[in-house]
């Protein structure tokens, strides 16, 4: 045992023990590592700023700092998936702890000791030592969990179509992380082995490991210690230098992406404002995205959460949100250095001359991103809701669709027909627009033209006006409102298509025309409050219409019905039979956070037995109809609606309650496809309520042969 200034009651250790005359070398190596790091960040900065249109993402600083703390520091989005959340949390928080530890050590050595106020002594030292052991073990546990996931368990989402998408970088990073910790423990163990103070039992891991060196003589241990110390130091410095050149860059880009996350309503698509003079629309090349849309890809950690609930991916389509982001990143890595160099060269040339940019060598839409991927997206928002890096996939998809539809006019013929129908008759089926209000004929529902002094406009939408099943929902809901004494009216034949499918299918020009036509009519009547039975209309009226001067209070019928029940305005007396399950519509749930109202309504119905499907609430599985998929053929893989129906069958549901006409159609079709029509039905919540209110007339089948008087 060596002589020491430390003793029991004055516990401590010599910082940088056995590392005499190391400072010069350590500082030199640190400087090199920092220089490599700085250069990497400089290069990356040039790449981040090389491509993309302007976009403001540094407004509302307070909100952004909150997001940064919430998702960057406290990892709230990462923890939403518990196992990987803990895995990442162990590594991150362990490392942050160790970083503080290293800072304490350095302060003690360079400030505390030389200036005569050492603080790493006594009880504080013991607690400090204990905590460092804990943090070290945190990181090690996290690394082992990560190794297990990536190389042994191999969950589907760490790959694409069953093939892991591991890169050498993944292994290097994990080995560096694990190596830094392991060498750290070995160094500690060797020091304890040589100096052997009794209080080092607080450094329980190193203390235990020291026993492994029992037979090693002190000189050998000192040499070994020195070697390990430098190995540890090189690994740590290498880690720092490696950050900008590896997946570790997410330590910068991911928190930055949380800070710069969209503060607009969920699902917002920025409207195209210039149709008259632009030559190209949407995103056909990286340059057509905003810089933030491009930056997104560099924040992706390939964790695959997006893929885990993507209805397109899970049903066997080519689309994986992760793959889209990664393919865009690969293309960016290829293009950005060239463009950055061209900009630099242009900067040196005469001011005012437009820099000559290297021409794109391939089509982003069609080659980098396959068209099957592009058109498979249902805009269900699962990927964005669950992305732990706040990446915005859906607007990128819509922007690329805009390019195909508006600029190239090259897209599925059935969607072309849908758009023509919307153009000519303001509905996707192309039914004569004069028939729009026929469903209401027998109900005595007034149009705003007949009586504009009503509280609510019931915006019926195309499904509610033309689809046979949708019309029944409209009738049921109108009767509920009438019974509850709610003052409302409809636009009748003055109503037009809401524009959601056109917008999400990339036809921004058509969608804006449709929206503006409706806004003109609604503003003409001074409409203030609107109720929609279709979540697509609801979402777009609420969030997109304000872009064009349509500002209304918009409600979904489940919100209204839930309020009517709570206020005792409607009584539910007729019990229902069978087992219900509720299917969350994407545009209601993930887009608008309406999860409770539909469930509360169902719970209020006498005799209600409700089973929840596995994929529910914010993890709900799309019916397959969003993002204009309602109007397109589904050629690849399995049908999404059938898969969702299977999930309902799995919980023995006899009734699938929905709150969306698209979901109603899709699940009704799914029930037919699974040949369960005899045992199962899909019902809108309005229909369930209407029945429970006893409003459904028992229509005797008309006896035409009865003798007439």
């Amino acid at each position: 045992m060596e002589l020491s200034k430390f003793s029991v009651g004055n516990e401590g250790r010599e910082v940088f023990w056995n590392a005499e005359n190391f400072e010069g070398l350590l500082f030199a190596f640190t400087a090199v590592a920092m220089a490599i790091f700085a250069y990497g960040i400089y290069r990356r900065w040039q790449m981040w700023t090389a491509i993309g249109k302007p976009e403001v993402r540094n407004d509302q600083i307070k909100e952004r700092i909150k997001l940064l703390l919430k998702n960057g520091l406290f990892q709230i989005k990462t923890f939403r998936d518990i196992y990987p959340g803990i895995m990442h949390g162990l590594i991150l928080f362990g490392f942050i702890g160790l970083l503080f530890g290293a800072a304490f050590d350095a302060t003690e050595f360079h400030v505390g000791e030389p200036y005569g106020f050492p603080f790493l002594i006594g009880k504080f030292y013991l607690i400090f030592s204990f905590l460092m052991e804990v943090f070290g073990l945190f990181v090690l546990a996290g690394v082992f969990m990560a190794l297990d996931r990536r190389y042994i368990t191999k969950p589907e989402r760490l790959g694409y179509k069953g093939e892991p998408d591991n890169t050498p970088d993944d292994a290097i990073v994990l080995l560096l992380l694990g190596g830094i910790i392991l060498t750290g423990f070995v160094i500690e163990a060797l020091r304890i082995h040589v100096t052997n103070p009794p209080w080092e039992v607080w450094s329980f891991a190193g203390y235990t490991l020291a026993k492994a060196f029992a037979g090693v003589d002190n000189n050998t241990a000192r040499i070994l210690h020195k070697v390990m110390w430098w190995t540890h130091t090189f690994m740590a410095l290498g880690f720092i230098a490696y950050i900008p050149y590896s997946r570790l860059v997410h330590m910068i880009t991911t928190p930055a992406n949380h800070f710069m996350a969209s503060l607009k309503p969920v699902g917002n698509i920025e409207p195209i404002r210039d149709f008259e003079t632009a030559e190209s629309f949407g995103a056909g090349q990286l340059e057509d995205f905003t810089w933030k849309q491009v930056f997104d890809s560099d924040a992706c950690t390939r964790c695959g959460r997006c893929q885990d609930g993507c209805p397109a991916y899970l049903s066997g389509k080519a689309l994986s949100p992760k793959k889209v982001v990664q393919d865009l990143k690969t293309y960016w890595l290829e293009r950005a250095p060239m463009i950055a160099a061209a900009k630099k060269a242009a900067g040196k040339a005469a001011e005012g001359t437009a820099p000559e940019m290297p021409a794109a060598t391939k089509a982003m839409v069609g080659e980098v991103i396959d068209l099957h991927e592009l058109w498979a997206c249902t805009n269900c928002m699962y990927c964005m809701e669950h992305c732990s890096s706040s990446i915005e996939h859906v607007p990128k998809i819509v922007n690329m669709r805009q390019y195909k539809v508006l600029t190239e006019a090259d897209f599925a013929p059935e969607l072309q027909l849908t758009y023509r129908n919307m153009e000519n008759n303001s509905n996707p089926w192309g039914v004569g627009s004069h028939l729009r209000a026929d469903w209401a004929k027998e109900l005595g529902v007034k149009t705003l033209a007949e009586d504009p002094n009503v509280e609510y406009l019931f915006y019926v939408g195309c499904s509610g006006s033309f689809d046979e099943r949708g019309k029944k929902v409209s009738m049921a809901f109108a009767k509920i409102l009438q019974t509850a004494g709610v003052s409302f009216g409809i636009l009748g034949t003055e109503e037009g298509c809401c524009g959601d499918s056109a917008m999400r299918g990339g036809n921004e020009y058509l969608s804006q025309t449709l929206m503006q036509t409706n806004i003109e009519v609604m503003n003409g009547y001074g409409v203030k409050k609107i109720i929609c039975t279709c979540p697509h209309g609801y979402n777009t009226l609420k969030k997109d219409y304000p872009h064009f001067g349509g500002n209304y209070e918009v409600y979904h019928h489940t919100e209204i019905i839930a309020n009517l029940i709570a206020a005792g305005k409607i009584s539910l007396k007729k019990p229902v039979d069978g087992m219900f399950t509720y299917h969350d519509s994407c545009f209601l749930g993930r887009y608008n956070n309406i999860y409770d109202q539909p469930r509360k309504i169902l719970a209020a119905i006498p005799g209600m037995k409700l089973a929840e499907m596995d994929r529910k609430l914010d993890k709900s599985f799309c019916c397959g109809a969003g993002g204009a998929r309602m109007w397109m053929e589904e050629h690849d893989g399995e049908r999404i609606n059938n898969m969702r129906t299977d999930q309902a069958i799995a919980v023995n549901a006899t009734n699938i309650a929905v709150a969306c006409p698209f979901c109603l159609t899709m699940l009704t079709d799914g029930i037919k496809a699974r040949e369960k029509e005899e045992k199962m039905a899909s019902l809108d919540i309005a229909e369930v309520v209407w029945r429970a209110m006893g409003l459904e007339e028992e229509k005797p089948s008309a006896d035409v042969c009865a003798p007439t008087e």
């Binding site: 008259e276 000519n424 035409v704």
Partner: protein, 256 residues
């Protein structure tokens, strides 16, 4: 290759057609006007030929001011210029006069091939293409579902009951388009925007040197006859009802 496509603006296929009480035509209020679908096949084929052989596509249409929208639709699809024959005297004129006006306009421009729809879905007359060919003194091939240009002649397919005819014709020639010829394209947005600036010549009959003198005219537009009410067969036994049905089909409906 200089290509001409004649188009007519017609009510949308889904529009509710209401006959005016005085029988002078249909009530145009609330009607959505579109390009005659058969003419659209003609425009699309014209554009395909232009893409293959180069040249210009000129759209010619007879109609009131609103017909300009339909010309612009064709220009948005990719046609180069338009001639809009707008003359009140031509409103509701017979095929002979319409064709005379079209012929006068087309004579003034180079034309290797002229497309028309096989008929317009509003009056279903199906005459304009043929009369136009006569006025121009050139051959006509009608109801075409496939077209190939070979040098100065064309080969087209015309389906008939149980067979199809391969018809060859010299150019210039009038082709009337039938469903199946192609899938008309969806106009791109840059196309729509450019169409607004493409030249459209507006001419009246006098400027074309045409005197409008209808030989046939629509005397009156009548609503279609009301459908006779259906009949429900009553009875206790299915066999009895079937006998009654057979009897009625034979004696009243005279179909069996």
């Amino acid at each position: 290759m200089n290509i001409v496509a004649c188009v007519k603006q017609v009510p949308d296929t889904e529009a509710a057609i209401k006959v005016k009480p005085d029988g002078s035509g249909i009530d145009e209020a609330g009607i959505k006007w579109v390009m005659n679908p058969y003419d659209e096949f003609g425009v699309e084929e014209a554009l395909k030929l232009k893409e293959k052989f180069g040249g210009d596509v000129t759209i010619v249409s007879v109609g009131p001011a609103r017909a300009l929208e339909t010309i612009r639709t064709a220009l948005a699809m990719g046609a180069d210029k338009g001639i809009h024959i707008n003359d009140p005297a031509l409103e509701g004129a017979d095929a002979y006069n319409i064709a005379a006006a079209l012929a006068a306009a087309i004579k003034g421009i180079p034309h290797d091939i002229i497309f028309c729809g096989q008929r317009a879905i509003d009056d279903d007359a199906g005459q304009v293409g043929s009369v136009l060919a006569e006025f121009l003194g050139i051959p006509q091939v009608t109801f075409v579902t496939k077209l190939d240009v070979e040098g100065a002649s064309i080969k087209v397919i015309r389906p008939i009951e149980g067979a199809q005819l391969l018809i060859e014709s010299s150019l210039p020639c009038v082709v009337t388009a039938q469903k199946g010829l192609n899938e008309p394209r969806y106009a791109s947005l840059p196309g729509i925007m450019k169409a607004k600036k493409k030249p459209v010549d507006v001419k009246n009959a006098a400027e074309l040197g045409v005197t409008v003198a209808p030989k046939a005219k629509i005397a009156k537009t009548l609503p279609p006859p009301a459908r006779p009410p259906g009949k429900i067969i009553c009875g206790e036994e299915p066999a009895e009802k079937a006998r009654e049905l057979a009897k009625l089909l034979r004696e009243e409906a005279k179909v069996i």
